[in-house]
Amino acid sequence: MRDVLVIGGGIAGIQASLDMADAGFTVHLVEKEPTIGGHMAQTDKVFPTLDCSSCILTPKMVGVGQHPNIRLYTLSEVTRIDGQAGDFTVEVVRHPRYVDESACTGCGACAEACVMKGRIPNAFDMGLGKRGAVYIAFPQAVPLKYAIDPATCLTLSRGKCKKGPPCKLACAADAIHFEDTEKRLTLHVGAIVVATGYDPFDPRLKPEYGYGAYPEVLTALEVERLCSASGPTLGEIVVNGKKPTKVFFIHCVGSRDHTVDNPYCSRVCCMFTAKQAHLVKDKVPDAKVTVTYIDIRAFGKGYEEFYERVQDEGIIYRRGVISEVFKKGDKLYVRGEDAFLGEVYEEEADMVVLAAGLTQRKGLDVIEALGIQKGDDRFFKGPSPLDPVETGIDGVYLAGCCAGPKDIPDTVVQASGAAARAMAVLARGKAA
């Protein structure tokens, strides 16, 4: 058996797929979104090097799209897994794209013509940008094939759109097929790499921070999109139509927090906040940028040095927890404790960024049915905490944040690690 299944097309799934495909194995990569790329594609720049995230991710995405040994199934989900190491049977459902992948050239004429153009919040931009009912998530999507969102497409949801769907009329390649249906396929694979990633913590669960109530309160992923040159504001930091001048970053939102049953550390927020504080200061040099924290966890290669650099740039680090974000009149305030000064303070803010942590994805029943254990933190785990790749089930291995929060280097490392274990099974045809 030379075939292997990878579940999830973020950076973890991409890395595991490329490793195994380069070694000559046939990889079936299943991704539920219309494009691969995952959360890393949403990120503007990466710490501590400040590389442009898509610039380092895109070559790998293109590599997946063009690899002769990788079969990519987007808009697809694994619905059932049976068997054992060396001989798994996997059922996959492919949701309709309503656009023929082999015919679509990615020209975008359909999206231009769509009646709903610019009216639907684009999830890729965390809802800050708008798209139509036929869309690509971002210009470097792989595959670069448009997809129709059946919930918002008038033809699909109401049966009628103008006098004939403008997208279909606009498509020179005749790629749009409203009659497209769900398809099922069965794969036979020798090993499985689980790379399902994470869900960001929903800060609405911490109502005291005012997320959802105050438009000035943003999540870190929203700020990534604001910083991004290809994001909804073309890289401008604009909140409520204005450039902010008093910016507060709040660490540990939904992490190290027993009140939301997340006592664990999310491992990446200290550093992505340092990076975002740097980017905001860089784009709005006059802004007063304050970061409030419990402990600064700058532990990776070059991270401590980056944290020192950010402090030198005039960003204020205040140790202490923020208890509340609130409005007095039309002004927004944060109330917090300064642990060094031993006092409670209130300060005005016109942008508050919540460093929301990482949580286990929802909807992983099929993978759980394999018998993979979960930790108290709800992430997948194996029998030994000292080997994060193993699941305890021969032939099934973990890559990336599905096995606990981690940054991009640690994710890429673990993904290659999962590939190593999977390839050993593939090479022997049975459990190693």
Binding site: C55, P385, D387, A403, V412, A415, G417, A419, M423
Partner: protein, 652 residues
């Protein structure tokens, strides 16, 4: 010549600063250019497809793409050339992003510069030569350097995948640092619970050869075809005959500080480490044994009832052919004597965390009792970040494990000695690993005092250490007597890292650890093809992250072995034998060892598989006899000439 030029917008990365349409129109005026287009993302599938189609439709024989750095997408576009049906090297990428739009803000000036860069690329592409990649076969075997948890894990993975593995360990025993830990965080697993089975499995494998007391002395070749030389020091004890009776230890007259306890206890020149060290037999250390240092002692051999000791054995050298190498050489601990204000080495109860670990170990020198100088402590102060996050010792980096090993040790002490008063002085608690924040929460509930603030000094009051520290919450300086001080020493590059760096031609980052090829995209690869990094030799990390990176190094190393062949890049040096005078100056500057003077013909020869195409040789050759393909003088001068001409025009 029919050249196609493509100008990339890179979203707004280029187009917001450079007038791409103007660059495109300008390109059409250049000699040989028959087609010029601009597009949003040239690297995207439709961008690539456009080029591929145009090559056929417009009979292009050369292509220039003005986009990002060639480091990013040169490979991508070369593949497009091949798909279009022309040689991959009839291509030139003009970097109008990193070298233009990202560093300029004036639209007009940036646009002019982009034009110049395109003109230069067009000039050069005229002269590019068709090159072809070659392939070399791969020896399906791996060398793993280092027998700690990283090396053992990587070796097992490679063996599981079916490849021959040689594991070389400098120490006489496998297990590395992990073998010395009493318990591991966060689940308090004992090292022998996971290390011993792993070592046993490695030793049982038919396709793994373990060489202990061994060091790499030479490496030649290239990815897929390396020849390693390893010096193997004998154990001087037949491990299969040794019964661990200990009579050799009793008669050995030597007494030196024991490295296993970092000098806390003495040892003999015969070593008999406790489990989980493997092999489970005595070994003689020739560096301290009088038989070797003074040539006049064979007391142990005479005392051994089994006749297992053979002092006449000699160092031997083995040559090993392998395709890939995994470096898993670990770390060494920071020496706190470098911070004299801590009085480590002067006050007997100022010890390091790893020393405490040995004192807590039931197989350690005190059988697990906390005793130094006959006395048990009632007060212990732990100090974080000793030799980490510290510019005064040139270690600005975080060592990543000390917060947790200290929390673990505080817990071990408190569990066994509930009455011992424990204070921990820290800067930031970095308990980020899985289950570790939860562990820290539990430890805080054990009546352990965590004080945020750094220690400035440990000074003696008689034999008693006094710790001077700051409590940043109370904003006070404190002085406190204590019985023991435990220093949470950090990690630094292992001894001998420079020699290994030179042997393997690796790079190191500013912190001194081996440098990965790319921190995110290739975190366990190196710039030397076929050599990979596992564990702490690349930077501090805990056991879980070390195991993860060891698996990763195995995956990356297995790829060429599974593939069975490696591609050899064709941009390498070539020698014009008519011109070469055999002076061999180039050989001296080649850091990769790719050049060799043919003794008979007195002409230089190039090993194309070893050459990295750096160009040092061609810059050195006094007669231009050795040249780098596609970076020859005429090709580079054409590029420079075009830049000068366009600049002159702009000036006029």
């Amino acid at each position: 010549m029919r050249i196609g030029v493509y100008v990339c917008h890179c979203g707004i990365n280029i187009a917001s600063v450079v007038d791409v349409a103007a660059v495109r129109d300008y390109a059409l005026t250049l000699p040989g250019v028959v087609l010029a287009k601009d597009y949003q993302y040239m690297c995207s599938d439709p961008g690539q497809e456009m080029v591929r189609e145009d090559i056929g439709k417009h009979h292009l024989d050369r292509v220039v793409i003005a986009a990002c750095s060639p480091r990013m997408h040169e490979g991508t576009f070369r593949k497009v050339m091949e798909k279009g049906g022309i040689n991959a090297y009839y291509f030139e990428e003009a970097n109008i992003r990193e070298q233009c739009s990202w560093v300029h803000s004036d639209r007009q000036v940036a646009t002019e510069k982009a034009k110049e860069l395109v003109a230069a690329a067009v000039s050069r592409v005229h002269l590019q030569e068709a090159l072809r990649e070659k392939e070399a076969a791969v020896i399906p075997a791996a060398l793993v350097i280092g027998g700690g948890i990283a090396g053992l894990t990587a070796a097992k993975d490679m063996a599981d995948a079916g490849f021959e593995v040689t594991l070389v360990e400098r120490q006489p025993y496998l297990g590395g640092h992990v073998a010395k830990w009493t318990a591991t965080f966060p689940h308090m697993a004992k090292a022998e619970e996971f290390l011993t089975p792993l070592i046993q499995e490695i030793q049982a494998r038919d396709n793994v050869t373990v060489l202990t007391s061994s060091e790499l002395t030479d490496l030649q070749g290239f990815v897929g075809n390396y020849q390693a030389k390893v010096a193997v020091t004998p154990r001087y004890v037949d491990a299969s005959a040794c019964t661990r009776c200990g009579q050799c230890l009793e008669v050995c007259p030597v007494e030196v500080p024991d490295e296993a306890t970092w000098g806390l206890t003495p040892r003999k020149a015969v070593l008999l480490p406790s489990p989980p060290h493997v092999p489970d037999a005595a070994v003689i250390d020739p560096a301290t044994c009088r038989h070797f240092t003074e040539g006049n002692c064979d007391a142990c051999a005479a005392a051994c009832p089994e006749g297992a000791i053979h002092l006449e054995e000699a160092i031997r050298e083995e040559t090993i052919d392998i395709g890939v190498i995994i470096v898993a050489t670990g770390y060494q601990l920071f020496d706190p004597a470098r911070k004299p204000e801590l009085n480590y080495g002067k006050l007997p109860t100022v010890i390091t965390g790893p020393q405490l670990e040995r004192l807590l170990n039931e197989n350690g020198p005190t059988g697990g009792e906390l005793i130094i100088g006959g006395k048990k402590p009632t007060r212990i102060t732990f100090i974080h970040c000793v030799g980490s996050r510290d510019h005064t010792v040139d270690h600005p980096y975080c060592s990543r494990v000390c917060c947790m090993y200290t929390a673990k040790q505080a817990r071990l002490v408190k569990e066994r000695y509930p009455d011992v008063r424990i204070r921990v002085c820290y800067m930031d608690m970095r308990t980020f690993c899985r289950g570790c924040e939860e562990f820290y929460n539990d430890v805080q509930r054990m009546r352990i005092i965590y004080t945020r603030g750094m220690v400035s000094e440990i000074f003696p009051k008689g034999e008693t250490p006094v710790v001077r520290f700051e409590d940043t919450f109370l904003e006070e300086m404190m002085e406190e007597e204590t019985d023991w001080v435990v220093l949470a020493v950090g990690m630094e590059p292992a001894e001998g890292v420079e020699e290994l760096q030179n042997l393997l031609k690796l790079s190191r980052s500013a912190d001194g650890f081996f440098l990965e090829a790319h921190p995110k995209l290739r975190p366990v690869d190196t710039d030397t093809d076929g050599i990979f990094l596992a564990g702490c030799c690349q930077g501090p990390r805990d056991i879980a992250d070390t195991v993860s990176s060891a698996h990763a190094a195995a995956a990356r190393a297995a790829i060429p072995l599974f593939a069975g062949k490696v591609a050899i890049a064709p941009i390498v040096a070539e020698v014009d034998e008519e011109v070469c005078a055999g002076c061999a100056l180039c050989e001296q500057v080649c850091v990769y060892g790719a050049l060799k003077l043919d003794e008979r013909s007195k002409k230089m020869t190039v090993n194309e598989a070893v050459c990295k195409g750096c160009g040092a040789c061609s810059a050195t050759c006094p007669s231009s006899a050795i040249k780098l393909r596609n970076f020859k003088n005429n090709q580079l001068l054409a590029q420079i000439d075009a830049l000068c001409v366009t600049s002159a025009e702009a000036g006029a």
